[in-house]
Amino acid sequence: MRPLPYPMTPESSVVEVTLDSDLKNVEVAEEITRRVAGTAGFDEDEQQRIEMAVHESMINAIWHGNKNDSSKCVWLHFKIHRDRLEIRIRDQGTGFDPKRVPDPLESDNLLNVSGRGIFLIRSFMDEFRVEYVSGTGTEVTMIKRLNSGIQTKQGGTDREHESHNTTS
């Protein structure tokens, strides 16, 4: 793990860290997220929601993207804007199409054991998009606006900003 630029100050608006692809590092990512979201001005409830979105993205990156291969890495990038927090998480996997993930709220899927991670990310963040770049990996971008006044959504009801680009 590369050194963290702690302590964060309002002047340091970008945080980048590269973590080994190990489930133990999910909690490290959560801790960084809490600090960054706090510095960005989000209240405790919002910090927890952002933290959970990062948790689910880290799980996707490590488990599904990097196939739990500890020789691979996950790259996290946080950028605090005046009105929003932008989080990018990149793995070294081969990409996925979020539109192919079944809606976990459908009655047939309600008792499925898996398939709620992307739904929770969409519920907790204002924007979510996935980009796969051949030879590089999959990059997820999530945005949370400050004082958006948006309560927790039912995931997937606000997909206007979602995109899935494949560059080969």
């Binding site: 927890q48 799980i59 309600l110």
Partner: protein, 119 residues
Amino acid sequence: MSMKATIRQVDSVTVVDVSGRITLGEGCVQLRELIRDQLSKGTKNILLNLADVTYIDSSGIGELVSAYTGVSKQGGALKLLNLTKKVHDLLQITKLYTVFDVHDDEAKAIASFAKPATA
């Protein structure tokens, strides 16, 4: 903090006091093995006390669903007790709050196992 579970028997109900994190990996595996162990012993009524669960993720929610369906298939019932706000909110947005029988009073939860389920 990883997941911890303490099992106690109250009347015909096996109460499992769960604490810590129910997340992908250790926490989910522990919960899965605990439920499997109880089912193998013929346990029918399980009450999961989640008061001290500090974190649950999508995999943890999936594990609760798996436990619920596993116990139901064996003719038993799995109910939830003392949800934290975080767990409550997650079950609400995933529409699972109406699937699970959720209680905030242990004595009433225990008594509910003796009654036939109502729609």
